[in-house]
Structure formats: C-alpha cells, structure tokens
Symmetry: C2
Subunit: 241 residues, 2 copies
C-alpha cells in the first residue's frame, strides 16, 4: 500500500553491520511495534514484505537482520553461520537487543507494546529476548521450538505462540515436547499449532536460497500461519481504533 513508508536501517550487532527493513504505517501517532525475525538464510524481499504487511495493518514493524546484510544461497555457508549462532544464547540476544534498540529509537514505536515474531533462527532470537526478561507483549515463533538455559524461561511474561510442521525433521516431536515442557514448567501462557503434513520452512515460498533437506513450501498452511500470527498480535498488541 502506498500509505506504508519503509526505511533501510544499518546498525551494529554480533560484530557485523546489520541491514534491517523498517516499515511504518500512515499517520504520526505511536503504534504497537513488531520485531520480525528471518529464517537462517537471512533477510530477503519476502521477509521485508512481512514487515510491510504488518505496517499495512497498522503496526510499526522491523524486519531485522541476522547475517550482516548477507542472504545465503549456499546451504553450507548458511549452516556455518547459523549453527553456532543457535547454540549461543548470548549472541542471539545481542542480535535481538540491537534490533529492539532500532525499534525503540523510532518515534512511532509505543515502547510499552512491543511484540517479537520470528521464523526459524529469527524465532529462536525472539524466544531468547523473552528468556532475557525483555518486556515483550507477545512472542511468536514459527519452526523454532528451541529450548533455553535452565530456569530462564520463567522470565517470559507474555503469551507465546508457536507453530511447526508435523513432518518437520529439523524440529521433530521430541524437540517440540522439550520446548513445551520447558515453557509449561515455567508457567508461561503458551499455544502450539502443528500444521499437518508440513515440512520445515513451510511458510516460505520457494526461492533461490539455501535449501536443506526437510524444507518444503505449503501454501495453505503458510496462509494459516500468517493469520495465526496476525491473530496473536491482534490479541496482545491490538492496533488502536
């Protein structure tokens, strides 16, 4: 929509220069704001479009970067970047906090109504912000049902919505159970949607990017997962008016 304005934002994190994509709705009032985290390959036009779609709905939205402006098309390069990152909560939090600071520096952002939504690696980062005690109003994670350091899930004080494909070999049932057991024991308000027959990254249209085994697009569930994310935001950080 022409009423949405966008801005490329460069900022430091994890020893790199991150290149985020900030999307603002029409108007000049403060709005609830959303961090949108990308999959392991990094930020592409599809993920930038997610921020723009949220801005069309009335949110300030930052599609944040995890790979210093790079978007990996080679699976080996992608995994070399993402695997150690996913094993290091402190690095994930650094990337998440840097993105959060960009959002907080935007005058349109209502600092008391921030949600974090992420896909794959971006979802793991959203969860780590919660485990770090950041005052988020909602966390949404698609395909990243990652557990954290012992005891830290109790710092999550907002609803957590998680989605995963039933046939996702990268996020198998045992991992889902470990994740839900962790957040249930921590007293978190949570939901999990299992999308039947879907593989990893089922929500992402096929593009020329790093495709690893177990990945596959599922258009129907992709639409449903987007609606579920929008419903989560509408519940926890509704757009005024």
């Amino acid at each position: 929509m022409s009423t949405v304005t966008t801005r490329t934002v460069a900022y430091p994190a994890d020893g790199l220069t991150m290149i985020g994509h900030l999307a603002l709705p029409a108007g000049d009032d403060r709005r609830p704001a959303v961090l949108v985290g990308p999959e392991g390959p990094g930020l592409n036009d599809f993920q930038r479009g997610r921020a723009e779609s949220l801005a069309e709905l009335g949110y300030v939205a930052l599609a944040f970067d995890i790979n210093g402006g790079r978007w990996f098309t080679d699976p080996g390069e992608m995994l070399a970047r993402v695997t150690p990152l996913l094993a290091d909560p402190d690095r994930m939090r650094d990337i998440g906090h840097a993105a959060l600071d960009v959002l907080l520096a935007e005058p349109r952002t209502d600092p008391d109504r921030i949600a974090a939504v992420g896909y794959g690696t971006g979802g793991a980062i959203a969860l780590e912000l919660g485990r770090d005690g950041v005052d988020l109003r909602a966390i949404g994670t698609v395909n990243a049902l990652t557990t954290g350091r012992p005891g830290e899930a109790a710092r999550i004080r907002c609803p957590v919505w998680a989605g995963v494909g039933s046939e996702d070999p990268i996020m198998p049932p045992a991992q889902r159970e470990a994740f839900t057991a962790e957040i249930e024991a921590a007293g978190v308000d949570w939901r999990l949607v299992v999308y039947g027959g879907a593989l990893h990254a089922f929500h992402h249209p096929p593009v020329d990017q790093a495709v690893v085994p177990g990945v596959g697009y599922h258009p129907r569930h992709a639409r449903r997962a987007w609606r579920d994310v929008v419903d989560l935001l509408d519940e926890c950080v509704p757009v005024p008016g």
Copy 2:
C-alpha cells in the same frame, strides 16, 4: 442480537427424541451452515449460545443434541451414556446424520456449504460424519481427538482443525499422536492446536454439570479456541458479502 431467530427442533436419533437448537441469521437467503456438537453432559444454554453466536456471524447453526434432551449433572450417569456411545461409530453417525438432516431441511441452509464443529463427544461425532464420507467443508473438534475404524479417515475430504489442552488427562499425548498419525496417513488436510496448561473441557465456563477429574475452565484459551473455530469457518465456509 435481535436479528437472530431460534427454533427448538425435536427429531429422532439413537432411539431417543433429540431436542436441538436451531439459530438463523437475519435475511431470507441461503447461508453456509454449521452443526455444533455438545460435550458429553449434553446440550445446555452455553452450547445453545454457540449456535446463536454463529448465527450472529451469518451462519445457519444447529446446536444438536446427543442425549435425548437430557443434560447430565451426575458424572456417573453422564459416563454411562457417553462411554458406550463413543465406542460405537455407527451410533455416533446416526446421531450426526439425524442432526444433519435437520440442517438440510432448513431452507436457509446451503447444502453445499456445511461444516461440523464439536466439543468432546460432539467433536467425535463430527469426525465420524467425516469418516462416513459426508461432504462437509470443514470439521472442527475440540478435546475429541478420537481415532476411527481402519481406513475410514481417508473419506474425510475437508480440512480438519483440532484443539486440545496440553494437560488434558482424558485426551493425553499418546491419543493425540494416534489421531494425528491416522489423519496424516489418510492424506487429510489437518491442524492441531495444543493450548498450554489447559485441562479437559477448558472452553466451557464452570456450571453445575457432570464434572469429572481433569476438567477445568481456562478463560483465555476458551476465547482463543472460539476464535480459532471462527477462523476455520471463515476459511472454509465464509459468509458471503
């Protein structure tokens, strides 16, 4: 809303006289129609209200009866009625078909756009209609993740949405897995929402009814499960205009 009209409908099924509650939206045009099945204790004002809420959204909706007009407040009586029923797909189908016939006899019903949603026993009946090959456009089942006779799930040709409380001891993880394995193997388009921390019948406000161990109300998840059901209907049998 005053624009919704309701009608009590008596009809035979399972050797009993069932007393359903039909709710019609304003207007005189054909509309998508929804069967709404109650929990084991039977039909009460809360379940009748579900049909009225759907009529307010524009659907023809029948809150159907499973217990011949009775609403059990004694757990023993309720289980004596429901346990053998749940073990007999033919009896469940008889009850479901009788309700479907009431819906089809209503001139406002669009016979090509019928969905079945049920809670507990009512959800098991909705699934059995699908396994019987009825041309439904959507099946929603809350707390009833019941498996069927071998091979019959392949007759389900519409999306299935299922919801369950994570801590529901009456519908434990092994049962959920048996259910999702059955419908995945059958090629059904399905989703499962696990509501964290919720018990059995989490969607039903506490009332003077047959309460068995493992039952408990969860207001937040109750609202979410209702929204999920409405989303399912909006996806599969949207109200025109």
